[in-house]
Symmetry: C2
Subunit: 304 residues, 2 copies
């Protein structure tokens, strides 16, 4: 199945207790595309960058099987830039700079050769921009997966709910699920969100793993216990990329495959945090991925 | 295998967002004993109560197969009393009253008919009291499991470490593991604790489940996603009781059986929080337990 990904392609500067980077490559679209590329070579990316974005990075994405025809390059403008600093426990971060630049007027165009996609992944962007991508597809994809964040809940909840109503899977973290639903219990939160449109809800719990909800079924994926989290930036996007990438490589979309997709997404995310930015996930072998998934299997194997 | 449990038998008064109790039956020993009694009828309890403790409760414990010969009754003194109030999210609580009463001078005696136990469960008590029970056993049990809390880390870390060095399994929560080890990562924390004596470390993560560590192996047990946590009091003790109860009913103690024991402990704990105090776990059928364990199986089942 073909996969269409919409998301930012950007610069980040990151400080963690382990070190500090200059401007490095970031962006939800980048993380999602790279992560998905371990499962399918049929990834089409829609995004926007400025003239300052390195051509080598686009070429690197192409070598991974990611089509970048849908990345608009605005030569006279600058690429989206975010910088942030993580607290000692890595569970919280402060944003230092957000320069929207090209993202401010991003109006995603879907190239003709991207039409007919089976799976659409809407990376975190304003809900209006996410909706416009759905509107511009000639046929509704078999599966639409959406990521979002608390920022949009704070400032445009109505728009957000409109877009959420159009998707099949919503992937958010625990605090966002609580904010969106007004429910503290994650079970109640997921139930409420499923009444808003999505048939599936994924609640990401950071180091505690993720929960997948569908009808009255729940799947609990563990977090891989790690000695060291070097840089959490992009872990959620990498999770989403592994999730949609794995599903796109299956012949059928169903709950059983989604459970596996959650584990594959978790495995990719566990690599992401080992180095700064995309460094680790741009450089994985199939064997790396397979042995990491085996670690997840060992982690939860019990003969009850 | 026979199980010896040492722990408080006490009164609690609890306030949660769902309601408030008068003095009700509580205490780590009570929760542990009741929980273990679903797996083995060979439970011997060591504790101390005052003359104000109801005889019917001791009789109720006896009907569950819990031997109370080792509960000292001090007619002229009062039973340990704790009262607390939970915050809205149930993850934090304030202690309102702690009346040590009989616990202040508790000097646990091990009746002759309790000698030769195979599994010893040290419920949360001062580390010196826990150690004295080990010292008073003629033969070292096959397995010693110990629970403790941050309170003892704050005021008597050296004594605590002395007792920890004598046990096989330490069961604590994530914050306590961090405090005890000085490590933020739970993997690093568990590794460090395993150098202090215990061959196994269980780190309880509340709603996020529990991790079992042994040598370089890790097992991750999920928390059962619940719509409502009515009263978390005793959940950790109930977990420990299910854990040691299940193990006591097996012919062998090994990592595979410990993994199952963690799930059985988690299942019992998930019942505990459904009602105030011991109300729910004093009234379970074998079928209740089996179907709850099946829910855990469903929750983590994935065909990778």
């Amino acid at each position: 199945m073909s996969l269409l990904v919409v998301g930012s392609v950007a610069f980040d500067a990151i400080e963690t207790p382990f070190g500090k980077t200059d401007k490095i490559i970031g962006g939800a679209g980048t993380y999602i595309g790279l992560s998905a590329s371990y499962f399918t070579k049929n990834v089409n990316l829609v995004s926007v960058v400025g003239g300052d974005f390195p051509n080598e990075t686009l070429e690197m994405l192409n070598t991974k099987g990611i089509n970048t025809d849908g990345i608009e390059i605005r030569q006279d403008e600058k690429t989206f830039f975010w910088s942030g600093k993580y607290h000692d426990n890595m569970n919280q971060r402060d944003t230092i700079t957000t320069e929207l630049n090209v993202l401010e007027t991003f109006d995603p165009q879907v190239p003709d050769n991207y039409q007919g996609c089976d799976v659409l992944m809407l990376g975190n962007l304003s809900p209006g921009v996410q909706k416009s991508v759905i509107d511009r597809l000639n046929d509704r994809p078999k599966l639409i997966v959406m990521d979002t964040m608390n920022f949009w809940m704070d400032i445009m909840m109505d728009d957000l709910k409109t877009t959420i109503a159009m998707v099949d899977v919503l992937s958010i973290n625990d605090e966002e699920a609580r904010q969106l639903s007004g429910e503290y219990s994650l079970v109640s939160a997921a139930k409420k969100i499923m009444t808003m449109g999505p048939k599936y809800v994924i609640i990401k719990k950071g180091e505690h793993g993720a929960l997948l909800f569908h009808e009255d079924k729940i799947f609990s994926a563990p977090g891989l216990p790690l000695e060291e989290v070097f840089d959490p930036t992009g872990a959620g996007d990498t999770f989403a990329g592994g999730f949609v990438g794995y599903l796109s490589a299956q012949s059928e979309i169903n709950f059983d495959n989604m459970k596996k997709a959650v584990i594959y997404g978790s495995a990719l995310a566990s690599f992401c945090v080992e180095k700064f930015g995309i460094e680790r996930i741009a450089d994985l072998s199939d064997n790396d991925v397979a042995s990491r998934v085996q670690q997840f299997t060992n982690l939860i194997e019990v003969d009850l």
